[in-house]
Symmetry: C2
Subunit: 207 residues, 2 copies
Amino acid sequence: MTTTTAPTTRMASDERRELVLKAATVVFGQRGYAGTTTDAVAAAAGVSQPYVVRIFGTKEKLFLAVLKRALDLLLGSFRAALASDSPGTVGYRIGAAYVDLLSDRGLLLSLMHGFVLGAEPEIGRVARCGFLDVYRFLKNEAGLPAAEAADFLAHGMLMNTLVGMRMTDDYESDPDARELLQGALQTKLPLLLEVTNGPGSSASTAS
Amino acid sequence: MTTTTAPTTRMASDERRELVLKAATVVFGQRGYAGTTTDAVAAAAGVSQPYVVRIFGTKEKLFLAVLKRALDLLLGSFRAALASDSPGTVGYRIGAAYVDLLSDRGLLLSLMHGFVLGAEPEIGRVARCGFLDVYRFLKNEAGLPAAEAADFLAHGMLMNTLVGMRMTDDYESDPDARELLQGALQTKLPLLLEVTNGPGSSASTAS
DNA sequence: GTCTATACCAAGATAGAC
DNA sequence: GTCTATCTTGGTATAGAC
């Protein structure tokens, strides 16, 4: 599949970089690191394949950049949720922020793919380091006790897994899938269903 | 990399199949679906690459077979733990069985890779179905309430993630990694450290 | 049942024009 | 800054011998 690209408008390298990173996040989130081709990323970003390589050097460096960006956004949104004065406990507010991130298609899934690739030296390093940063945030900044922080992470991993396997596809047809999704996502489930299955897939968003 | 294979001893197809599945489980667990080459599997199994393809038809079918086998073993070991008369609550006993499976290098990690590949039609189907089977087991056979079953799954996913990212590599050097691993794995941590980091990496197994 | 040899394609990366 | 063209490698799958 060769990318058909109309003579693209020039833009500052920082802008283009971010554009490609966004596109790459979606594709990596869907297909994983090895399963993603630089050509697919290029197509999603609307640029040529060699240009993607040109910007980031190698596919691995691109993936690492995606991971770092995702971790930055994640912690940024956690910090915002912590600072905000919305109702609920600290854990609840950060949890809500996490679920909101699930709608940023690919962000948490790209992370997830990175997390299970500890055997790749570079990727593993970034994954472990990033994961620990989140753990430290939960304990030191959000003030959660160790057990609660681990619990938070555990449920985050469950959500990632459910989304990654597209369990939402079985939401209509399988009562157990429905129950599990409801248990894991609570009030945020309608949001996720809307994002993944398109508008109108849940009973009602607000009425 | 071409596989160097000494004139291999013949064996029944079922035996050889299981042998290749075991090897494939390890490699897929390490590198994921797309990241694994049939040649690497062949090398690990000590057979030729075309033979691996010959047995399973395609790489995808091989991976699906790995997933199904892993799910069978998982549920089998859960049922055994449930039936056994070892001490502890049902949740504890099944949890212990799960952690024991972590030492079967690759089994849970292959599953994990399958779980986050919901976009692949076949793999996604098997993943969702298998995951729901486990959920149903926890509720219907083990008798856990929905919330506890979800909690169990959540912590399972956290363990898979920690093992997949090789967090055990940071066990010595990073106090937070140590704490997180201890919190997630409890009394089973020494077992895991022995498997991943080699004997003697934890304080003591028994004394 | 198992191998060797190989066809064939996909994908990452490079060269170089504009 | 961005593209087209292309080199090169590696990897799945097939053919066919033993």
